[in-house]
């Protein structure tokens, strides 16, 4: 088979100047991650210790009210809890007792800190320790903060996974750990590709069940499947594990580069690598090509949201023929995103953080063909005549690896196709 490796740009964005502004951030807080984490970890419960606002956020971010009793809830702080902190610990323990009594299927309980619990300095680490002692070994209680004063949207997942790392058992085995919560179908595809290359000692953080074996040690190497896992990256390194840097596995190119980095790490021969990847690569290219017909030559503008912006801009510019005007991201982890930045040709404005009103002015002036933004901005921008893609879908939808590359491109082409398809004016 003929190889089609695209050449990297002569100058990437690794050293491009970064625009940093400080103003209103139009972003979710880290609690939002619970929406997908609780689906992924099927025996875990996420108990937010916070206010009515936290409960309302979770309910609203879920878009619709997911019925069935959800595996997340909010212990709402009341006046009495704010008055004396000793009370709050006792109250929390009582609520946890009640919850575990009603939900005997729960094996992992996350106490999730919020803005109010952080401000009043409620010690959830101590609460988690005490509760673990009481409920071990049946239930493990961990804690992390998903508060808006410390975490932005996907950083909640990072904080959650990082909180699990110190509790992982130690291993001396040479193992690969995939880090990041992916839909099961996507996770299975990744494992399958790796297994075909002979890499079969693979664990995933977070595991689907509390009992699934995940261990870490000096011979563990890990690959990130999401770009926002800086804290987990650091926590794993503290346990002696080593990161395999690579572009993120979005699109055909990203997936191939990500797999190639692991193939090199595990000494997989080129011929075998090609034998495993050639067919899915070709499929992915074909699938992306269809959506790319709509996307090619179009411009795109990213508001900061999920931290997926840099790898997605790389995918859209290199595989779909789009032109990136501005790529905003809440945080820029150069250690993780370096390989993606190298592949993203210089040109777009890279922006970290946000002043939403100023950014809206830049966006209106740039008149991009497609604007990737949060749910609060999408309809107002559509009403102004801009075509938008809701960023939150990118974390709720299977978009990683070869078989989803076409779907990923389709998420961006659909709004453009829709705008072209609608003819609402009178015929004349």
């Amino acid at each position: 088979m003929t190889r089609h490796d695209a050449t990297p740009p002569t100058r990437g964005c690794r050293d491009a100047p970064v625009l940093k502004q400080r103003g209103q951030h139009e972003v979710f807080c880290g609690l939002t991650g619970i929406i997908w984490l609780h689906r992924k970890m099927q025996d875990a419960f996420f108990l937010v210790v916070g206010s009515r606002t936290c409960a309302h956020l979770l309910q609203s971010a879920a878009g619709v009210m997911i019925f069935a009793e959800p595996r997340f809830g909010t212990a709402i702080l009341e006046e009495t809890d704010l008055a004396g902190l000793a009370d709050a610990q006792v109250e929390l323990e009582r609520e946890v007792e009640r919850l575990l009594a009603r939900r005997p299927d729960i094996r992992q309980l996350f106490l999730v800190g919020s803005c109010p619990s952080e401000v009043i300095k409620l010690d959830l680490a101590r609460a988690a320790e005490r509760l673990t002692m009481r409920h071990a070994p049946k239930v493990r209680v961990l804690n992390y903060s998903g508060s808006g004063i410390e975490t932005t949207f996907t950083e909640g997942e990072d904080a959650c996974l990082a909180s699990m790392v110190p509790a992982l058992p130690e291993t001396q085995d040479r193992e690969l750990m995939l880090v990041g919560a992916l839909p099961d179908v996507v996770e299975d595809q990744a494992r399958d590709l790796l297994a075909q290359m002979g890499i079969d000692k693979v664990s995933v953080l977070p595991a689907r069940h509390a009992d699934d074996p995940v261990a870490v040690g000096p011979n563990t190497v890990f690959a990130l499947t999401q770009p926002f896992l800086g804290g987990t990256h650091a926590a794993l390194e503290r346990r002696g594990a080593r990161h395999v840097p690579a572009p993120l596995p979005f699109g055909e190119e990203g997936t191939t580069a990500w797999l190639a980095a692991l193939a090199q790490e595990f000494g997989v021969e080129r011929a075998r690598f090609d034998a495993v990847t050639d067919a899915p690569r070709a499929r992915a290219r074909r699938a992306v090509k269809q959506a790319a017909e709509t996307l090619t030559g179009k411009s795109v503008f990213f508001f900061p949201d999920s931290q997926l912006e840099i790898p997605l801009a790389r995918f859209l510019t290199r595989e779909c023929g789009m032109q990136a005007l501005e790529v905003g991201t809440p945080y820029l982890h150069k250690a993780i995103l370096g390989p993606d930045l190298d592949l993203l040709a210089e040109g777009p404005q890279i922006a970290e953080g946000q002043d939403v009103d100023l950014q809206l002015e830049r966006c209106r002036a740039a008149r991009p063909d497609l604007t990737v933004c949060g749910l609060g901005l999408a309809n107002p921008l559509e009403a102004e005549g801009l075509t938008t893609k809701w960023a939150i879908e990118l974390v709720f939808t299977p978009v990683h690896f070869y078989e989803q590359a076409g779907d990923l491109a389709g998420l961006f082409s659909r709004p453009l196709r829709r705008r072209a398809a609608l003819h609402l004016e009178a015929a004349e």
């Binding site: 972003v27 606002t53 401000v119 749910l375 609060g376 107002p380």
Partner: protein, 509 residues
């Protein structure tokens, strides 16, 4: 501390946002951490608003705490004024900012901004969304409304509709038309669509129409005292209530009541023979107090249902709902814990729920039809078509909405007749809903619970259980319940076929 899985109401600052977003020319500066901006999507996604809510959030982060959150607030306030040039501003804190005690109101006052700045004190750890809206609108009214000359012609204000309200948009249109028919003009509708300068001339009206006590009562009471504006006490949802409301308007204005009932179809539809099957349907009501109270009257007096339970999630309405429940001979359920509501519904086994989106979900799980009568809202509660709850058209809309989830008249008999037909059986459900009922139903789960429960419990013999299965699914729950109650009252411990039919005869109506 209280564990909450789903909430009926958001925090009070979301109520303030509902007022701010409904108005134009008003801007809200909210001292809040990053993340609280999620509330924008309620308006842009659920209500499909095409503008960002007029809210500036300070979005402070951990590194700002203790250093300059106060300056952050002042900068945000100044920038918001310069960017949006509002006629008036409201300032306040969300739950987290309340804890850091920066006093947004005091700071904003000192800044000497060239427009009125109204400080909001909304206790996030005690109160909720409806209170927030009511209090915010009251504070805006108190700050801006002044005694002015009355309009020459009889006019009123429509008070209470907000952004993110249940059918507020269409209720305004319906009421405006009905009042016009009677010769009453609308002076100002507020907060929905009002500017701060409109608020200043509220006093020009001759009286207020309090559309939604949840969000407008405090302002109406204040205007009654300070601006000499009486307000209407009847909420015109349902035929009877609409007629009472128009009579109330007539007595306030001295005009003759006039209602154009040529479009009114509920009374005849309800009287027509196909509706006989509605007789005595056992319904459970839950929602905000106002919508529940109006729905109770419609259910009993206009649809011929039997109200078997009612309740509301907003504690502010607990007293009137308790009183009303007593009149209906039922126990009022005042709670914002949806698990309690679910338990109550399960215990009462109604044939229909008139509730919120939460009860719709409960109904799905328990296989009980549900029509939605109240907020909290869902994107489905903003239909493209005109569908008010108030007035003449509101009554028509309610008839359709409530009947739709039920199995239709003749279809009920056909289902019975063909109950063993493979295409036309229990699992097929009502033909106009498509899809199949696959969830476990209360009647299949009930045997386990009855066996476990206390002594004195009755046991179903196999033959009776088989006979019960021959009864159409939509009345089977009631038949089971009636039979068990009957058996318990008779001191019978085993239910046979005879018991089943004894009970049927006993409850015949």
């Amino acid at each position: 501390m209280k564990l909450t899985l789903w909430t009926y109401e958001g925090p009070p600052h979301v109520g303030a946002m509902r007022v701010a977003t409904a108005m134009t020319g008003l801007h809200y500066v909210l001292h809040a951490p990053q993340g609280d901006t999620y509330a924008d999507l309620l308006f842009t996604m659920i209500e499909r608003r095409n503008h960002r809510p007029p809210v500036t959030y300070t979005t402070f982060q951990a590194r700002d705490l203790g250093s300059d959150t106060a300056n952050l607030f002042k900068t945000a306030c100044q920038n918001a004024y310069e960017r949006f040039k509002p006629q008036a501003m409201i300032v306040g804190a969300s739950c987290t900012a309340e804890l850091i005690q920066d006093d947004p109101g005091g700071m904003a006052e000192q800044m000497g901004l060239p427009c009125p700045v109204i400080a909001l004190e909304l206790p996030s750890y005690q109160r909720k969304e409806n209170f927030g809206a009511d209090e915010t609108f009251f504070q805006i009214t108190r700050a801006l409304a002044k005694p002015v000359e009355k309009t020459a012609h009889v006019s009123c204000n429509l008070i209470g509709p907000t952004a993110l309200g249940f059918r507020h948009r269409d209720d305004i249109t319906e009421l405006t038309g009905m009042l016009a028919d009677m010769g009453v003009a609308v002076n100002v509708c507020a907060p929905y669509g009002a500017t701060p300068s409109d608020i200043a001339r509220l006093g020009a009206a001759h009286f207020n129409v309090l559309m939604y006590p949840e969000t407008g009562e405090a302002a109406c009471r204040w205007m009654e005292r300070e601006l000499d504006l009486p307000f209407t006490k009847t909420v015109p949802i349902g035929v009877g209530a609409t007629r009472d409301f128009m009579a109330e308007v007539a007595s306030l204005t001295g005009l003759t009541p006039q209602i154009d009932e040529s479009r009114l179809r509920l009374p005849w539809y309800s009287a027509s023979v196909d509706s006989t099957y509605l007789t005595g349907k056992r319904v459970f009501l839950f929602g905000d107090g106002t919508h529940v109270a109006t729905a109770a009257r419609i259910a009993r007096d206009e649809m011929g249902f039997e109200v078997v339970g009612m309740g509301c999630y907003n504690r502010e309405m607990a007293r009137p709902i308790r009183k009303l429940a007593k009149e209906y001979g039922v126990e009022a359920l005042i709670t914002d814990d949806y698990l309690e509501v679910e338990a109550a519904i399960e215990a009462l086994a109604p044939e229909m729920i008139l509730g919120t989106q939460m009860e719709r979900m409960i109904g799905k799980r328990l296989n009980i039809p549900c029509a939605v009568i109240s907020a909290p809202v869902h994107v489905q509660d903003y239909p493209a078509r005109y569908s008010p709850q108030m007035g003449i058209e509101g009554a028509n809309v309610i008839f359709d909405t409530w009947v739709h989830p039920l199995v239709m008249g003749l279809e009920e008999h056909l289902l019975h007749m063909f109950r063993d037909d493979f295409e036309f059986n229990d699992a097929a459900g009502a033909s106009h809903h498509g899809g199949h009922h696959t969830t476990s139903t209360p009647e299949t789960r009930q045997p386990e619970t009855t066996e476990e429960s206390a002594p004195g419990t009755v046991i179903w013999l196999d033959e009776a259980e088989r006979e019960l299965k021959k009864i159409p699914f939509f009345v089977r729950g009631k038949a089971r319940r009636n039979t068990e109650t009957f058996a318990a009252n008779q001191g019978v411990h085993e239910i046979g076929i005879d018991t089943l039919y004894e009970a049927k005869a006993h409850y015949a109506r």
